[in-house]
C-alpha cells in the first residue's frame, strides 16, 4: 500500500502556496512517504531547496512543474530524463521571456515544441465537453506519458465528479492518477493561504469574497489516508508509484561546466593560467620576482590544478583584462581574491606580502566548493563590463543570479495589517517603528508603546500572521552583480527570466542554490568609491603629473594615518560614518591591519555579538589579552583574542571543538538561519560539547557560542575587509595629500557615500581647498580643477551637475557651443546655446551669471524672463560689445533693489546647500551671542562636563538601531560642526525640536572621551523661525532687532505662509 504525492506546491509558487520545501519534506518523512513531487506554478525556483531538503530527509524529490497555459489549461509535467529537464527549462524560459518579469505566458504550441522527455498529468476542472477536448489533446501529444489527475475537493458532488472523470478517462484511454493538490504541509496553515491570497490580489480579508480558495484540505496526507479516501480507485493510486518510478531525474545529474576559455590556443586551461601568472609576476615585480613569491605562486597553482579551478581563474582574468583594457578601475575581493595568483593576474591590488592569509583557508580540498571572487568596478561604468560579458559568453550562457525577496518583519507586518483592513495610517506608524534588526518579528508590546490597543482582536491576529509570513518568498529579484557563466546552454540548466531592467536576464536560483549545485559564480559589483578613485587618479595624472593606481598607494603613509586617527575622514571609503568616526580616536589605527579591523568592527555582527567593547578595552590595555590555549592564540592573536571575522569563527570551531570542515560549514549555515530558529540550535550543543572535550572551560565555550550567535549572518569576512581596507586607505591617501583632487573626484561620482555634496564641499573648504563658484564660461558638467591662487594648489570649479534639476543634455549643448569663444551675455548665451529658459532660470538662481557676466541673480532672472521663447530676428542682429542687443537698450531700467546678503546666502543654500560667501548663521551670530549661546567650535573645545548652549543648523539625524533610541545629531554653524547626543527621554520631551527643527538650540554638557567630544543634550529648542530672518539681513554684523526697512520686511501684515517662502529649505540627512 503506497502512494506518492505528485501535486504539491511549495511557497515558491509565489503567493499561491504557503509551505517551505523543507517543511513539506519534513512532513512527508513523518507521514512515511518515500518520494514527493514538487510542482510549483510555472517555476522551478524552489527546486534546489527541495533537492537539499530531500537529501536531508531521505524522501526522494521528483522534479515537477505546474504549467498554467494562456487558455487556462493546467498541466503537471515531470522530466523523465536530462533531456526532458532541459526542455522544461527552455519552455519556462520561453514563457518568461515572452511575458516579462515574474510572469509566464505559454500556449499549447509551446508545450508541443518542448514536450519531449516529459510526463504530463492533466488537471481537469468539471468533467464536461471542453475538458474532454483538452484531455484528447494531451493524450495525442504525450501518448503513453499522459495521465489525468483525480483530486477530492471537499465540496458537494465530489464522488460524482470523480466517477465522471474516471469514466471520461476510460473512454479516452488515459490512465487516471490520484493527486491531492497540496498547498500547505499541515492543516493549521490553511488560514495563511487566505492571507497570501489577499496579498496576491491586493484586497483585504473582508473584501476577498470569491477569491478565497474554494476547496478544503490542501495539506499533505499519509499514504494510508489517501487509500482510505480513494477506496474505489486502486489503480489510480498505484499509478502514482508507477510515475514516481519513471521520473528518476535528479538535480545532482546536472553537470556544470566552466566556460571554455580559449585565450591561448593550443593550451589547456591549466597551462594557460600558468603562462599568464608567470607573465604577470614579471609585470608586478619588474626588479625580479622574489623567491617567496615564486614559492607561493607554485603552491597556489598546484592547488588550483588539483581542484581543477584553472578555468574559473581564467574567466575572472578575462573579465578583469577587459576592464583593464577599458581602463575601468577594479578591485577583487572575496575568499580567493587575496591570493598571489590574483595579485599577479591584476585581479586584486593587495600585495600578498601584506597579509598572511593562507590560500587554503579559502579553497579547501575538503569542501570541494568553487572559489569565490567578487570584483568591484566603478559604479558608473560597470554596465560596460556587463555588456562585454553578454557579448563574449552569449545570452544563452550567461545570466545574473536571483535574489529571493522574502517577507521580513516590516513587510510582513505591513501586509498582515493591510490584509486585515487596518487604515493606511496605522500601518505606516507600525511599519515605521519596526527596525530592520527586529528579525524575529515584532511583539505586541511594541504596539502598546505606540498607543495601539493590543487587545484588539485584529491586531492580535496581525501579530500572529506576520510571524508566519516571515521568510515566505514574495518574488525573484536580481542579485546586484552575481553572474553565472556556463559552457553548455544555461537555459537547459535552469529557467531564465528577464529582469525588470531592460537587457538583463536572471536565473531562477539564488546564490545559495548555485553553491549547492557547484555552479561557478562571479560577482561584478559596482562601487561608487571605485569611480571616485578612478577619477581622482585621472585628475592627478592630468593636473599634477602624478601617476597612481590602487597598487602603488604608499602603504601606511604616516600623514594619512594621522588624519585617520583624527577621524578626519568625511568622504573616505567605509570609515566615514558617524559611528566609524566615533570609533577612530579610540582605536588609533597605525597599521594597515588596524584599518582592516576598523572596517569590520563597526558592523551589526560584532556589535550584537558584544565584541566591540572587549576589543577596545584590550586595545587600550585596560584588559589583559589572554588566550585559553596556544591554538586559540594563533587564530586570534591579530585581533587581541576577540573573534571579529567570520573566518576566525569558523577556524575556532574547527580547532577548539574539533569540527571537520564540513561540520564547520554547518555552523556557517546555522548562523545564516539563526534568525529563523532563534539560536544555533543543536550545533551550539555540539560546539560546547566538543570544546569541553578538548579541554576548554564551559564558560569560554558558552561565551564563544554567544558570540557566534551575535554574529548571525552579519559576520564580515576578513578577506572582504582586506579589500575594503585597501580602498579605504587609498581614498584617505588621496583626501590627505590631494584634497582638491579628491573633492572634484568625489563630487563627480555622486550620488555615493554618506554625505551630501554640500557637506563634502564644506569639509574641503575647511581643509583649505579653494572652491570656485559655477560659471557659464568655465564650468562644465563635472567639477573641474583649475590652477589655484596659491602656487601648487588647484582650485575646484563647481560643475553644473551639482545644480538640482538640470539636464545634462542642455549643459552639453551649452559647453559644445561655447567652444573657444566665451559667452558675452545671457542673451548671447541663449542665442548661441539655445538653452531652454527653464534651465537658464535655474542657472540664474544658482547665481551662475554673476561669476560670468557680473549680472546678479535678480537681474539675471529679469533678463531671462524677458527672453521669451520666440526669437525676433529683426532685433536680434545688432549686438554691442557687451553682447546686449539694441532692443534691450529700449527697456526702461527696472532699478531693482540689490538683493540682501542674507537673501543671497539663502538662495545659495536652497540651490546647492552651501553658500559662496558666509555661513547663514553669521547673520544671526549677534542675536545668538546676546542670548549667551556659544559657537560649535567653542563648544567642542570646551572642558569636559561644561554646561553650554549651542545653536546650529541640523545636518544629520541618525538613530542607529543598536543604540536604544539614542539620536545622534550633527549641527553646524560658521565655525564648524558639533556632535550632539540626544538620549531617548530627552528626544521624547523635545520631540519637535529634535525631529523637526532646521535650526536647533541645544543646551547640555560637554563630554570628552579621549579625542571624541560630544555634546549631550539636556534640552532642545526649535529656532527655525530665526532662519526666516536671514533673508532680510544684509550686513552679517547688523545689529539685532534693527527695525529694518519696512518695505523689505514686507509690511506689518505678513502672513506666516509668506514668510516661509524665503526660509532656508535646509535638508538634513535623516535616519538613513
Amino acid at each position: 500500500m503506497s502512494y506518492v504525492e505528485l501535486q504539491c506546491a511549495s511557497y515558491f509558487s509565489f503567493l499561491q502556496a504557503v509551505s517551505a520545501p523543507d517543511a513539506l519534506f519534513e512532513r512527508a518523512k513523518e507521514l512515511g512517504m518515500d518520494a514527493l513531487a514538487i510542482a510549483d506554478t510555472n517555476t522551478l525556483a524552489g527546486m534546489v531547496r527541495a533537492h537539499v531538503a530531500a537529501h536531508e530527509t531521505g524522501v526522494r524529490l521528483i522534479i515537477g512543474c505546474r504549467l498554467v497555459l494562456r487558455d487556462g489549461l493546467i498541466l503537471l509535467v515531470y522530466p523523465l530524463n536530462r533531456g526532458g529537464y532541459a526542455n522544461l527549462c527552455r519552455l519556462l524560459s520561453l514563457g518568461k521571456m515572452r511575458a516579462g518579469k515574474g510572469k509566464c505566458d505559454l500556449d499549447w504550441q509551446d508545450v508541443e515544441d518542448f514536450h519531449e522527455g516529459l510526463l504530463a498529468i492533466f488537471v481537469p476542472d468539471e468533467p464536461d465537453e471542453p475538458c474532454a477536448l483538452r484531455l484528447r489533446k494531451v493524450k495525442a501529444l504525450f501518448g503513453q506519458n499522459a495521465y489525468i489527475a483525480m483530486s477530492l475537493r471537499y465540496r458537494q458532488n465530489d464522488h460524482m465528479r470523480l466517477q465522471a472523470l474516471s469514466n471520461l478517462a476510460v473512454k479516452l484511454r488515459v490512465p487516471t492518477v490520484v493527486t491531492n493538490d497540496v498547498l500547505y504541509a499541515t492543516h493549521e496553515r490553511a488560514f495563511l493561504h487566505d492571507v497570501i491570497t489577499c496579498i496576491k490580489n491586493r484586497c483585504t480579508i473582508d473584501t476577498m469574497g470569491d477569491l478565497r480558495f474554494l476547496y478544503a484540505d490542501r495539506f499533505l496526507k499519509s499514504p494510508e489516508e489517501m487509500h482510505r479516501l480513494f477506496p474505489d480507485y486502486r489503480d489510480a493510486m498505484r499509478r502514482t508509484v508507477e510515475i514516481a518510478d519513471k521520473c528518476r531525474f535528479s538535480l545532482s545529474e546536472l553537470e556544470y561546466q566552466y566556460p571554455e576559455e580559449k585565450q591561448l590556443p593550443g593550451m589547456t586551461a591549466s597551462e594557460a593560467l600558468k603562462r599568464f601568472c608567470w607573465a604577470g609576476a614579471k609585470w608586478r615585480y619588474p626588479e625580479g620576482v622574489p623567491q617567496s613569491v615564486v614559492d607561493l605562486l607554485k603552491h597556489e597553482l598546484d592547488l588550483i590544478d588539483q581542484l581543477d579551478y584553472a578555468k574559473y581563474f581564467l574567466t575572472v582574468n578575462a573579465i578583469v583584462k577587459y576592464a583593464q583594457s577599458q581602463d575601468i578601475l577594479h578591485q577583487g575581493r572575496g575568499s580567493a581574491a587575496n591570493s598571489c595568483v590574483c595579485y599577479v593576474l591584476g585581479i586584486t591590488s593587495v600585495d600578498p606580502s601584506r597579509n598572511d592569509l593562507l590560500f587554503e583557508r579559502f579553497i579547501s580540498l575538503e569542501r570541494k566548493e568553487p572559489p569565490d571572487i567578487d570584483v568591484d568596478f566603478e559604479h558608473q561604468r560597470r554596465e560596460r563590463v556587463y555588456e562585454w560579458i553578454w557579448q563574449t559568453y552569449g545570452r544563452d550562457h550567461a545570466a545574473i543570479t536571483a535574489v529571493v525577496s522574502r517577507f521580513r518583519t516590516r513587510g510582513a507586518m505591513r501586509d498582515a495589517l493591510r490584509v486585515l483592513g487596518f487604515p493606511e495610517d496605522t500601518i505606516k506608524v507600525l511599519a515605521k517603528n519596526i527596525r530592520y534588526w527586529h528579525s524575529e518579528g515584532c511583539t505586541p508590546e511594541m504596539a502598546a508603546e505606540l498607543g495601539l490597543n493590543i487587545n484588539d482582536r485584529r491586531l492580535k491576529l496581525a501579530f500572529e500572521i506576520h510571524l508566519l509570513l516571515l521568510d515566505v518568498p514574495r518574488q525573484l529579484s536580481q542579485h546586484p552583480g552575481g553572474f553565472v557563466l556556463t559552457n553548455d546552454r544555461l537555459d537547459e540548466l535552469v529557467p531564465i527570466e528577464p529582469a525588470r531592467m531592460a537587457g538583463r536576464q536572471v536565473i531562477e536560483w539564488d546564490k545559495d542554490d548555485i553553491d549547492v549545485l557547484k555552479f561557478m559564480k562571479m560577482d561584478c559589483l559596482a562601487l561608487g568609491m571605485m569611480s571616485a578613485l578612478k577619477r581622482g587618479f585621472d585628475l592627478l595624472a592630468e593636473h599634477k603629473g602624478i601617476h597612481m593606481d590602487l597598487s602603488c598607494i604608499p602603504p601606511e603613509d604616516p600623514k594619512t594615518y594621522a588624519m585617520i586617527r583624527r577621524a578626519d575622514t568625511i568622504g573616505a571609503f567605509q570609515i566615514e560614518s558617524r559611528a566609524q568616526m566615533a570609533m577612530l580616536p579610540q582605536t588609533q589605527p597605525r597599521t594597515f591591519y588596524e584599518i582592516v579591523v576598523q572596517v569590520a568592527i563597526v558592523r551589526p555582527g560584532p556589535i550584537q555579538g558584544d565584541m566591540v567593547h572587549p576589543y577596545l578595552r584590550r586595545l587600550k590595555g585596560e584588559e589583559e589579552v589572554t588566550y585559553p590555549t596556544p591554538e586559540v592564540e594563533s587564530i586570534l592573536a591579530k585581533t587581541k583574542g576577540v573573534p571579529l571575522f567570520q573566518e576566525q569563527a569558523m577556524k575556532l570551531v574547527s580547532v577548539c571543538a574539533g569540527f571537520t570542515a564540513g561540520q564547520a560549514d554547518q555552523v556557517r549555515r546555522a548562523q545564516a538561519t539563526f534568525k529563523k530558529t532563534g539560536g544555533l540550535g543543536e550545533v551550539s550543543q555540539a560546539i560546547i560539547a566538543g570544546m569541553i572535550k578538548n579541554g576548554y572551560t564551559e564558560e569560554y565555550a558558552n561565551q564563544l557560542v554567544k558570540q557566534l550567535e551575535g554574529f548571525g549572518s552579519y559576520g564580515f569576512p576578513e578577506s572582504h575587509a582586506f579589500s575594503f581596507a585597501i580602498i579605504a586607505e587609498a581614498s584617505c591617501w588621496l583626501k590627505c595629500h590631494h584634497p582638491d583632487v579628491f573633492l572634484a573626484a568625489i563630487l563627480n561620482s555622486q550620488p555615493m557615500g554618506f554625505y551630501a555634496p554640500a557637506q563634502l564641499i564644506r569639509d574641503a573648504k575647511a581643509h583649505g581647498v579653494e572652491i570656485r563658484w559655477f560659471c557659464a564660461n568655465k564650468s562644465r558638467w563635472d567639477c573641474t580643477l583649475e590652477p589655484g591662487s596659491k602656487p601648487g594648489r588647484l582650485a575646484v570649479r563647481l560643475g553644473f551637475r551639482l545644480i538640482k534639476g538640470i539636464r545634462s543634455q542642455d549643459v552639453a549643448d551649452l559647453i559644445v557651443r561655447r567652444g573657444e569663444v566665451p559667452y558675452k551675455s545671457i542673451p548671447d548665451l541663449w542665442r548661441r546655446a539655445k538653452t531652454p529658459a527653464a534651465t537658464l532660470r535655474k542657472l540664474a538662481k544658482a547665481n551662475v551669471f554673476e561669476t560670468s557676466f557680473k549680472i546678479v541673480r535678480r537681474d539675471a532672472v529679469v533678463d531671462i524672463k524677458s527672453l521669451g521663447d520666440d526669437v525676433l530676428p529683426l532685433f536680434d542682429c545688432v549686438l554691442d560689445e557687451h553682447g546686449r542687443s539694441v532692443f534691450e537698450y529700449d527697456q526702461p531700467n527696472l532699478n531693482l533693489k540689490r538683493m540682501s546678503d542674507g537673501a543671497n546666502v539663502v538662495e545659495d543654500y536652497n540651490t546647492i546647500g552651501f553658500s559662496q560667501t558666509v555661513h547663514p548663521i553669521t547673520f544671526l551670530r549677534q542675536d545668538l551671542k546676546e542670548r549667551g549661546y556659544i559657537t560649535c567650535a567653542d563648544a567642542m573645545a570646551s572642558k569636559d562636563r561644561r554646561y553650554v548652549s549651542v545653536a546650529g543648523m541640523v545636518n544629520v539625524r541618525q538613530r542607529p538601531g543598536s543604540a536604544n533610541g539614542v539620536i545622534f545629531l550633527t549641527i553646524e554653524d560658521e565655525t564648524g560642526d558639533a556632535n550632539v547626543i540626544v538620549w531617548e527621554k530627552v528626544g521624547e520631551t523635545y520631540k519637535q525640536a529634535v525631529y523637526g527643527a532646521s535650526l536647533v538650540l541645544i543646551t547640555g554638557y560637554v563630554q570628552r572621551e579621549g579625542e571624541a567630544v560630544h555634546l549631550v543634550a539636556r534640552t532642545a529648542v526649535d529656532l527655525s523661525h530665526m532662519l526666516v530672518e536671514i533673508g532680510d539681513r544684509d550686513n552679517p554684523l547688523a545689529l539685532p532687532h534693527q527695525p529694518g526697512d519696512e518695505f523689505r520686511r514686507g509690511g506689518p501684515g505678513v502672513d506666516l505662509r509668506v514668510a516661509r517662502q524665503m526660509r532656508i529649505e535646509h535638508r538634513s540627512r535623516d535616519f538613513k
Binding site: Q156, R212, V861, K865, E1046, V1054
Partner: protein
C-alpha cells in the same frame, strides 16, 4: 475660514489638520487655530507633522466637498445680504453690498451681522470691505485685522504693504517676483510696466489694476437653485377628504407639467396645507427614482391625505418639488422577443410610502462559505447581482434560525450518519452526499479560527432531504468538537 462642520468631527479641544498632496508629497493643507498654535503650518509634510505632534488629528482633505460647502455658503449669503455674491475659492466669499448695507445699519453693522451668523455656524471669519474685489480679497487674507473697512478711494494705500501673493496671481509667478525683490504690492506697482509685462505677461498688471479699481471686475453671482413650487388659494376653506383629493390631483397635474418643462423628475414632493387657523399640515411622498407621472404621484399623495387634519378648513395649498433629479424622456424598448421587464418601481413606491422603505429589500448572495452569512439584503433598486460562489451547490431554501443539535450515529472520520434523532424522532438515512467541508471565517470571530464544518445532504427513508453538519473534520481535534446539527431541510 475653513470647514469645521460635519458631524462626528473630532472634538474642539483636539488640534486638527487636514492633509492632501501637492503631487509628490503629502502635505498639510489646512490646520485649525489650535494646531497652528502648536506650530503646524500649511505645506508642512504630513510625515513630519505626524512624528512631531502625536496628539494632532490629521484627516484627509476633501477639496470637492469644501468647494461644494463654499458654494452652499454663497447661496446662504445670497439669501441674506445681497443679490451679488460669489464663491471665491478655496476659502472665501465675495459680496457686492452696494445698496444692501442700510438694512443692517450701515457697513459696520452688516459686517457685524455676517461675522455673528458665521460664528453661529462655527466658522471663524476675516472680513474686509473695499472698493474692489481684488482689494477686499487681499485685505481679508493678508491684512492683520479681523475686520477692515477701507474708505472709498483708499484701496491703493491699504494694499501697498501687502505681499504680492495677495494679488491672486498664478502661484508659480510669486517666487519669481520675490526673487526680484518685489515683495509687496506697493513695490510692484511702482515699477515700470513694459519690462515686467514682457517677463510676466499681462496678467500681472491686470490684477493690480483690478485691485486698485482701474479695471472693472464683475462678480458673477451664484444662483440659488429654484425650487418648483405652485400654490392654490381656495376661495372657500375646504375640509372634505374628497375635495382635498381633487385639489391635490390638480396641483399634481400642474407641478408635473412644470417638471416636464424643466426636464426634472420629483424624488420628494411636499404638500403644505395652510389652515384657516394659521397652522400648517404637511404630507410628502418620496420615490426611489425620479418621477413625474402625475397619476402615480397623486395616488401616492392621496394615500396620505387621511393623515391630514383640516381643522376648521384649509384655505391654501402649496406644493413643492423639494428634491428633484433630471429625468429625460425615454423611449420604451419594444423588444422583439422577450416582453420588457415589468416595471415594478410603481409598486416599490406604493409599498415604501405605505410601510416605510425599510420594509422593502431584495436578497443577493454573498461570497462566503458560511451558510448563515450567504445572503444579504439590498435595496430593491440596487443593481447588485451577488456572488456566484455557491451557485453550483445545493442549499435549502430556508435555514433554521439556529442549527438544531441532533443525535447522530456516524463512522469517523468523514462518513455520513446512518441515522439521527431530531426533535425526538428517529430518521434512518437512506443515502447521502458529503462531506462538503466549510472552513470558518477566522477573521470574523475567534471561534471560527481553524474550525471546519462537514455538511451532508441526508435523504431519509421517507424521502425527505435534510442538510446536516458535523463540527470538526473528524481527524483533527482542533477543527471542532464532533457535534451534529441540522441546519435546514430541502423542500
Amino acid at each position: 475660514m475653513r470647514r469645521a462642520m460635519g458631524s462626528g468631527a473630532p472634538s474642539r479641544d483636539v488640534p486638527l489638520a487636514l492633509k492632501g498632496s501637492d503631487g509628490r508629497r503629502r502635505i498639510i493643507t489646512a490646520a485649525d487655530d489650535l494646531a497652528r498654535q502648536m506650530g503646524v503650518y500649511i505645506g508642512m509634510p504630513v510625515a513630519k507633522a505626524e512624528s512631531i505632534y502625536s496628539d494632532l488629528v490629521i484627516l484627509d482633505a476633501d477639496p470637492m466637498a469644501d468647494a461644494m460647502a463654499l458654494e452652499k455658503l454663497a447661496i446662504w449669503a445670497l439669501r441674506l445680504y445681497s443679490p451679488l455674491v460669489a464663491a471665491d475659492p478655496p476659502d472665501g466669499l465675495v459680496l457686492d453690498i452696494q445698496g444692501a448695507a442700510h438694512l443692517y445699519g450701515g457697513e459696520a453693522g452688516l459686517i457685524e451681522d455676517v461675522r455673528r451668523r458665521l460664528a453661529d455656524l462655527s466658522i471663524s471669519s476675516m472680513v474686509a470691505l473695499a472698493d474692489t474685489w481684488g482689494a477686499a480679497h487681499a485685505l481679508a487674507r493678508f491684512g492683520r485685522q479681523v475686520v477692515q473697512i477701507v474708505d472709498s478711494g483708499k484701496a491703493g494705500e491699504a494694499l501697498r504693504h501687502l505681499p504680492v501673493e495677495a494679488l491672486r496671481l498664478p502661484p508659480e509667478m510669486v517666487p519669481d517676483l520675490r526673487l526680484l525683490g518685489l515683495d509687496t504690492i506697493g513695490e510692484l506697482a511702482g515699477k515700470p510696466r513694459p519690462p515686467l509685462t514682457k517677463s510676466f505677461g499681462p496678467k500681472l498688471f491686470r490684477r493690480i489694476d483690478q485691485a486698485f479699481g482701474r479695471l472693472n471686475e464683475p462678480i458673477e453671482p451664484v444662483e440659488a437653485p429654484e425650487l418648483i413650487r405652485i400654490e392654490r388659494v381656495l376661495a372657500e376653506p375646504i375640509g372634505a377628504p374628497e375635495t382635498i383629493q381633487k385639489y391635490t390631483r390638480r396641483l399634481t397635474d400642474r407641478i408635473c407639467l412644470r417638471l416636464e418643462e424643466a426636464g426634472l423628475g420629483s424624488r420628494r414632493l411636499d404638500l403644505h396645507f395652510m389652515r384657516t387657523d394659521n397652522r400648517i399640515e404637511t404630507i410628502f411622498v418620496a420615490t426611489a427614482k425620479p418621477v413625474r407621472d402625475a397619476r402615480r404621484l397623486a395616488k401616492l399623495l392621496v394615500d396620505k391625505i387621511e393623515t391630514v387634519d383640516p381643522g376648521y378648513g384649509i384655505d391654501k395649498m402649496v406644493m413643492t418639488a423639494a428634491f428633484t433629479e433630471p429625468l429625460a424622456m425615454k423611449q420604451t424598448l419594444a423588444s422583439f422577443e422577450a416582453p420588457a421587464r415589468p416595471d415594478v418601481e410603481d409598486l416599490w413606491d406604493v409599498l415604501a410610502n405605505r410601510h416605510g422603505s425599510d420594509c422593502l429589500y431584495r436578497a443577493v448572495s454573498v461570497a462566503t462559505d458560511i451558510p448563515e452569512r450567504a445572503v444579504r439584503r439590498v435595496p430593491p433598486t440596487s443593481e447588485e447581482v451577488g456572488s456566484k460562489r455557491n451557485a453550483l451547490y445545493r442549499r435549502p431554501q430556508r435555514l433554521y434560525r439556529k442549527p438544531e443539535e441532533i443525535k447522530a450515529l456516524a463512522v469517523l472520520p468523514d462518513h455520513p450518519p446512518r441515522a439521527f434523532t431530531w426533535r425526538g424522532q428517529r430518521y434512518a438515512v437512506a443515502c447521502a452526499d458529503g462531506p462538503e467541508r466549510i472552513r470558518g471565517e477566522w477573521w470574523v470571530t475567534d471561534r471560527e479560527k481553524g474550525k471546519v464544518r462537514d455538511y451532508f445532504i441526508l435523504e431519509v427513508e421517507s424521502g425527505e432531504r435534510f442538510w446536516a453538519f458535523r463540527t470538526g473534520d473528524g481527524q483533527h481535534a482542533d477543527t471542532g468538537g464532533l457535534k451534529w446539527y441540522l441546519h435546514g431541510k430541502f423542500e
